[in-house]
Symmetry: D2
Subunit: 429 residues, 4 copies
Amino acid sequence: MPSSGRSVKVDGRFLRVFPAAGTTTISTQHMYQSGRHFLQIPGPTNVPERVLRAIAQPTIDHRSAPFADLTRDVLGGLKAVFQTQGHVVIFPASGTGGWEAALTNTVSAGDKVLGFEIGEFSRLWHELARQLGIDVEVVAGDWRRGVQPEIVEAKLRDDRAHEIKAVLVVHNETSTGVTSRLPEIRKAIDRAEHPALFLVDAVSSLASIDLRHDEWGIDVTVSASQKGLMLPPGLSFNAISEKALSAAASARLARSYWAWEPMVRANQTGFFPYTPGTNLLYGLQEALRMLHEEGLLNVFARHERLAGATRAAVRGWGLETVCLDPDEASDVVTAVMMPDGHDADGFRRLVFDRFNLSLGAGLGRLKARAFRIGHLGDFNELMLMGTLSGVEMGLLLAGVPSHRRGVSAAMENLCGSPVTTSDPSGTPS
Amino acid sequence: MPSSGRSVKVDGRFLRVFPAAGTTTISTQHMYQSGRHFLQIPGPTNVPERVLRAIAQPTIDHRSAPFADLTRDVLGGLKAVFQTQGHVVIFPASGTGGWEAALTNTVSAGDKVLGFEIGEFSRLWHELARQLGIDVEVVAGDWRRGVQPEIVEAKLRDDRAHEIKAVLVVHNETSTGVTSRLPEIRKAIDRAEHPALFLVDAVSSLASIDLRHDEWGIDVTVSASQKGLMLPPGLSFNAISEKALSAAASARLARSYWAWEPMVRANQTGFFPYTPGTNLLYGLQEALRMLHEEGLLNVFARHERLAGATRAAVRGWGLETVCLDPDEASDVVTAVMMPDGHDADGFRRLVFDRFNLSLGAGLGRLKARAFRIGHLGDFNELMLMGTLSGVEMGLLLAGVPSHRRGVSAAMENLCGSPVTTSDPSGTPS
Amino acid sequence: MPSSGRSVKVDGRFLRVFPAAGTTTISTQHMYQSGRHFLQIPGPTNVPERVLRAIAQPTIDHRSAPFADLTRDVLGGLKAVFQTQGHVVIFPASGTGGWEAALTNTVSAGDKVLGFEIGEFSRLWHELARQLGIDVEVVAGDWRRGVQPEIVEAKLRDDRAHEIKAVLVVHNETSTGVTSRLPEIRKAIDRAEHPALFLVDAVSSLASIDLRHDEWGIDVTVSASQKGLMLPPGLSFNAISEKALSAAASARLARSYWAWEPMVRANQTGFFPYTPGTNLLYGLQEALRMLHEEGLLNVFARHERLAGATRAAVRGWGLETVCLDPDEASDVVTAVMMPDGHDADGFRRLVFDRFNLSLGAGLGRLKARAFRIGHLGDFNELMLMGTLSGVEMGLLLAGVPSHRRGVSAAMENLCGSPVTTSDPSGTPS
Amino acid sequence: MPSSGRSVKVDGRFLRVFPAAGTTTISTQHMYQSGRHFLQIPGPTNVPERVLRAIAQPTIDHRSAPFADLTRDVLGGLKAVFQTQGHVVIFPASGTGGWEAALTNTVSAGDKVLGFEIGEFSRLWHELARQLGIDVEVVAGDWRRGVQPEIVEAKLRDDRAHEIKAVLVVHNETSTGVTSRLPEIRKAIDRAEHPALFLVDAVSSLASIDLRHDEWGIDVTVSASQKGLMLPPGLSFNAISEKALSAAASARLARSYWAWEPMVRANQTGFFPYTPGTNLLYGLQEALRMLHEEGLLNVFARHERLAGATRAAVRGWGLETVCLDPDEASDVVTAVMMPDGHDADGFRRLVFDRFNLSLGAGLGRLKARAFRIGHLGDFNELMLMGTLSGVEMGLLLAGVPSHRRGVSAAMENLCGSPVTTSDPSGTPS
């Protein structure tokens, strides 16, 4: 408080200097940064306070009747979100665990699976599969496009011996902002008349982008809590088709924690084969209620609307998205190419320090070459405008060559087609 | 969830219709509005989550030793914020109670006080004084300027009999966005060599705009919890000079709840003469810590910076602020005149419904003629940009004649002087 | 952590000593006391975590439509608790403010009111009335009995000129654990055919002991948030009869904050004449829901059951309650006389330090001579048994002459009539 | 609320009946049960409100600098609790995951390990090991004693070929309330001069019972969040010796999620190889602070004191603990044998319904034959007395043959040796 010490201005901030110590008492590091943090990485997303308060409920006995009610409520709500009538299982684990579960329950060591490297997360999933002893045939990509249905079809047609046990597709590649067209990929598999399981990573798409587990014939949909479901990380999901469940009976990878069968069985009575993540389940219950209140179609439409405005902003800045095909542009994250010679990570640090805004880093081969704007989860127009303003001012302050027309383009986009401004002075603007 | 019923689109939102009932289950009213609410009225302000979690601590015995520690910690921190070495008392009440306390402790029924109607809140304070039987001499104003020091001086010089017992000044008139120049008013009183008490309403200025109780010779500074102190409403404060405390000995208005003397006495041992607002005191302790971490001078500088950007936006829109004198422009709230023929309240409803943004209403004689943008408390650049974007889009959608240059002007203001945009394409923009 | 320094045992606790400093790092004062605190004073009561989480919801605009919904919901629920069809008003204030409001709205300076000093809180209410300039005729009491209906009748019959404008009765005198018989007092007033208003302090009885504002012809019922309503302190209530409301029109005590009329008027549209205590209203909404879920009659029955067990424990210890008439024994607090020569406050400090249990102090003339066990609000059998065990062990450790049969007597009481213990060894126990 | 409908009393509770429906509106199932729930299962334990509020902090970017600070703080605090200078890793998983990690990082399919079935949890760990393809040699036990050091020694001496790669010991067998003597088991391994790794399950002992990872030469200590660490479930830990880390290099079980090496590497910079359980880490940080404030030795002493009182109660009831050897009696949970012909599960349901108290079920071969009283984590004397009172009243109400002397015996135990009651009436009691 100003009553002791004198103040000096350093980097635009006042620090207090005390005579005795001759030094400031409060380091920049621990200073309170006023106002809300803008967590605009593509997950974890901004957890709504309703969910935060829900997870702060006292932990109860996970073998009691009230807990069984919780389980049933949550599983019912989850099925609606996955758009499935089948089983959905919940692991107390983060999304990586869901990847591992999808594989250990369906394939065996030495089995061949087909993967498509369209970005960092698909690459990591393949790596994980290899660590489990699975033979992953990877179709390389340029990290700027999604999985091409025609390649899926061609690859599967070539596999006349049906050695490929599963096709691995990342629905929304979080590292590039590219959404693969699952219905067309499903049709490609069908056209190839191939029996491979269709395993989908929907970690960053579920509850934000339309994903129809049953209708699209997905065998395992993997997801996690910290994206569209608006929760902290710590829960991972598998939606499981009957075909996948049958495959589990013969899959021979060692599994215990990730085993579906005891989970599905225990869930039927509202319980779990080992201690579940009780407090995150409270949060999940609340998040499902919120999705229900808004309506899932409204949730999808909102993500589409805010993503459209984001892309308008990127065009307004004169920058390029990582995603090359507009039909594959992600409604949850927009990855933006940094002009050559400019460091995306330095830019991100600047907006973090100056504007209390977290943007996603370029990952893997895009490291320092791109930054990512998350626009998913508990999000709305004005949070987006704050975010885009932070990016626009950051680009300016970082000296990144760009037009200052992104924010205004986004506003135009959100308000409908560009409108002639009415003018108080009588002069057309 | 989409698994039952069919969806129809109404007003851009999907509602579910169920066959049996033939009606939607979720009314618009109860729909979850995604993302954070922008509470940009000039108080209550956005309560930071640290404060919300603090007030959720279990209530303890207000006659216990840990409670006395809390009292002492909070009173110490408050004195630093009021910039006083004197007494500060805390009432479990909202700000109106603080007004009443300032008067009942210092004047008697029939006493004359001098007031200045510079807006709705000064008007209400005068009305309250009259209800207490006090004779209020009101200097009328145009609601677009602050208290004029020269009028204060003149009025006091005229009062040779020293009948005026107190001068009432609202530091920051929340209804108009005008900040009166307290140090000059103090000097005016001194020049008039008048013994009147100097009573200041700092409800919306404390902890946002510099306010020096001791240095400026204020006798009673009234404030409340729900503005710069970032708390919910429910606590009210009086900082009290020795002169005011002496006046209390002879002031004869009936008082019990608002009496200073038993409060000051009980506080010395860390307690209160009646049950205090324990959980809001928890929040106050946390809020004072946060102000301390940021540093009070930084807090003032931040409010000044964000207010400057807001005014740049208003100029960008081609609109007029209620405040006419730039030297009196408030750093906590900007009141904006609505062009004639346009309804400010309809505009506010539109931005509330469409953008989840609460703006302040025009009050009293400004009803429907002005709207107010609060930019105080736990606030930062991107929250401001979200707010200003909401206003700009709202003006557009409401068909209010305005330029669409407010948001860009605010960004320029925040980034320093206007800069030539670097251009990726080589063409000057 | 034990990895550095060595530990020494002091007073049964291990403290760490570090070589360099030669001193302990953690003072006893700041040590975390494991487990839940037992807050068994007669208010503030243990605030349930549902209520704590409710008050941690973000503050909203108190002039918005969602706020009006909140007001209406809360006022409706409150009326049911007060058992009235009339007006209930809510002040952002603690209970003392409710006392002041009841008086300033109904009587004038110099008016006579009739009061009964049956303990410290009735004494304080009278003192407050005198500070407001009211002429209080006090019927003295021994602080061990409630208000005697026959005295009420006699006093009113004597007042043929009907100078007494109001009769003030504390329903449950929190300092003594005595509950006055309101229905009989009402009948006494009626028998005297006296027009005095019937003002009742139900601060510590509401929502714990049956209280029927309408049926019992009460004119003003004063209450507060921090007792049976299970909230932190900070809200105060007046339930108001039509007769009281009429009296307000002619009552001439200066009032502004406490004025009913603008409050009642504003409430009709869901709003308040000045800033309300938003976050405590959230808590009130949740507390009313909880009372509704349990059912008000169940709430009363539970308080009666736990109070009965407490009194059985006091008898088991061979101690005496302050309350002399079993028909007036309070269901919310039991005040216990300390045997002569033993200091009740020293005893309370011992149980606080040793068992993390807060008991109520003897107040006023009972200071150090009695202690009080609160058994109201969010409370149940095992919390009571923990409390009574703490008292029994404390009596033992403090060397207070007493039998060690209180806890067992309470258990017998809770389980029904004393039962012969079945014996595993075949020997009668 | 009572204003509508009439009330009927059913099973001692009032239910409201409405004329129209002729049925109660509130089912017993959804009624609010007043007061705190007593969660006295041996984990999850009562999560202190400080921890609950900590986990409700907003989720941040797990790749940011503030997150790295959190990681370092938490890992430092954890090492002190494990009493190790080595590595501790944190999995976003429940305890079962920690078991799996301990094995997959140290042994290979087909390897032999030595296990001791002393209860249900040791049995489950063996089963998990078998699912991973490990050859488990199990020493059977009677479920009433801990691991016998002499058998460990004998078994290892017999294994001259050193085929046994690891010895698995459950420190505190939660199903039986038996604590194995780890230091003696370590000495037994040493005496046998056997190179097997020493793997310890400290899930229910860590932070409650002394456990010295380094000093006792443990190679992997497995633990989890929901017991002595006072958190909700969802985090699992491995403390890892250098020897174990070396073993990981050659262990050939497929692993990805559970792999130590990438975890240890990423932790060095404050990060994680995949998304960590951010909000539970907030809670862990707070829980470690609380353990630090109380002092780890005080924590152990408290558990010992409360366990001693619990065992005194069991003796007072004339019942038998599952644990036969007093030197192995657990300080965190007491399992109690139910007299023949009485159903422990029925008894538990009765105390749950009647007293809002959750007790642990008998597991495996003790199903319905025993119940368990958890007395660990955030716990104190009066919570224990409430718990024991609930058990004593429950035994009475369930008609279980028992003496009614448990509660009084526990109080005597807590107050020191039995004392002669001072007697107010002069008659010896």
